[in-house]
Amino acid sequence: MNHAIEIKDLTKKYGQILALKSITLNVPVGTIYGLIGPNGAGKTTLIKALVGAVKPSSGHLNVLGMNPINDKWALRQKIGYMPQSAALYEDLSAKQNILFFGKAQKIENLNQKTDEVLQFVELTDRANDLVRNFSGGMKKRVSLCCALIHSPEILFLDEPTAAIDPHLKLQSWNLFRKLANSGVTLFISTHLMDEAMHCDKVTILMNGEIIAVDTPQKIIESGKTVLTIKDNGVITTRTIASTPEGLANELLKLGLRASITEISATPDTIENIVLNIIKKNQIH
């Protein structure tokens, strides 16, 4: 078993609302696993079920070989959870917040560890400022620190990059990759389809159901590429498969001639492809 997370037939009902319908998926250790879906897809519910904050209506959950409800105390030492909302104390400083959540676990050199995580998210110079005065993106980073402080084996991040500017977003994903490289498993939800690119594997969730599971490369390959060719000054376009073979085949058919002065290939963005998959499922 090299799965950090195993989910089998997980269903969650809130009264009449079926928030999760028979979800089955596995997450290998040390990967960045993306959970993509529109608002209300059930991302938060799934993450909360995995951290033991939501009781499943039926199905089996296994996180690091443990049950999130029955083995909660043992499990809580090994997982980090960053909720969708900032979930910080506004009247405390960034450092005080991290220390408070850190003190729930036995951590050696907590003070030093706090400084390290603050440095990791580049907030060292604001460490002692009240969270009340922070921007949304800065709060997200403090929140991440609180989830990281006890060096968990799995990190559950619920929309960690929502409302964060593009520069910082890229930085965050670099940070997540650094963590994954050190052996941490990351389970990250997002409603931004283009962020799928940064994951090792993504699950697309809609209306509580999984509608696709794949690597970002495979998802891109399922889309189309538009090839624009300028031959003898005449511009033509054709649509081909977004696979490397697709491009090679097309070029072979064309045969390279001196009259072809320009070739450009524009593959579908992952955002479009995911949106198309979601749209297709809405029709059915």
């Binding site: 009781k55 409800i69 909660k72 959870y81 009247d91 405390l92 005080q96 408070f100 729930a104 609180c146």
Partner: protein
């Protein structure tokens, strides 16, 4: 151990919110002062001393309840409560920590109310009586904090706390024996009055401010307040849900 960490955080938070802190200490001061103005306008034969300390106790009772309930509801809406639980804090530590933290504030409130009342109304109580009075107000504040925690578990947002304000405060004023002896009320009203924790605090206060008082007369009422603390603590622990 973690109880103290939570308590420490609650205190730090209160310290961080200066406006709230100042208001929650100044508000009782102002109310007691208004009470003084009101009582000064009363005819001289009204036994004012029977009302002053009990009303002080009511103010502390009510404010501790409100503050604790609202701050705990905020924890729920902001998600910090969930984060505490998933982060490894136990329910018992959270409830214990909140109680300890708010007692810090309630202790200050109780002292402030007592000192101001004694000074404004020229009350001439012995040290023994003063210490007992302080203890009663303080014990009632413990009840309030527990009640606040308990009520907060039913609220999805701060607004849900407000209906409980008249529900707690009006019967407390009219039925608990603060203004009229509970036994003179119709049976059902007397029953409601006796369900209110303030009733027992008022009983104790009325006994110990007698020129000659019997401490044994207060045992039952102290026991009732203790029972309230225990019962509400139990209810709060059971109603604070960890999972949805």
């Amino acid at each position: 151990m973690k109880t103290f960490i939570v308590a420490n955080r609650v205190l730090k938070q209160l310290k961080g919110d200066k406006r709230l802190l100042i208001l929650s200490i100044v508000a009782p001061l102002i109310i007691i002062y208004f009470l003084k103005l009101l009582f000064d306008a009363f005819p001289p034969n009204v036994p004012i001393t029977n009302f002053t300390i009990p009303i002080g106790a009511l103010v502390v009772h009510f404010l501790s309840f409100l503050l604790c309930a609202i701050l705990l509801v905020q924890e729920r809406t902001k998600g910090t409560l969930e984060r505490m639980l998933i982060g490894g804090y136990k329910r018992s530590s959270i409830i214990g920590g909140y109680t300890l933290g708010y007692l810090g504030l309630a202790t200050i409130q109780a002292a402030v109310v007592l000192i101001e009342s004694v000074w404004l109304f020229d009350l001439d109580y012995s040290y023994n009586v003063l210490i007992l009075l302080f203890f009663v107000i303080w014990l009632l504040a413990v009840v309030s904090v527990m009640l606040g925690i308990f009520i907060s578990t039913f609220a999805r947002h701060e607004g849900h706390v407000f209906p409980f304000i008249p529900l707690l405060i009006l019967p407390s004023i009219f039925l608990s024996g603060l203004l009229i002896n509970t036994d003179e009320l119709p049976q059902w009203a007397a029953f409601v009055g006796k369900c209110l924790p303030l009733h027992y605090a008022v009983n104790i206060i009325h006994e110990i401010i007698k020129p000659v008082f019997l401490i044994s007369e207060t045992y039952f009422d102290f026991a009732m307040l203790g029972a309230y603390v225990f019962l509400l603590w139990l209810c709060a622990s059971l109603s604070l849900k960890e999972t949805e």
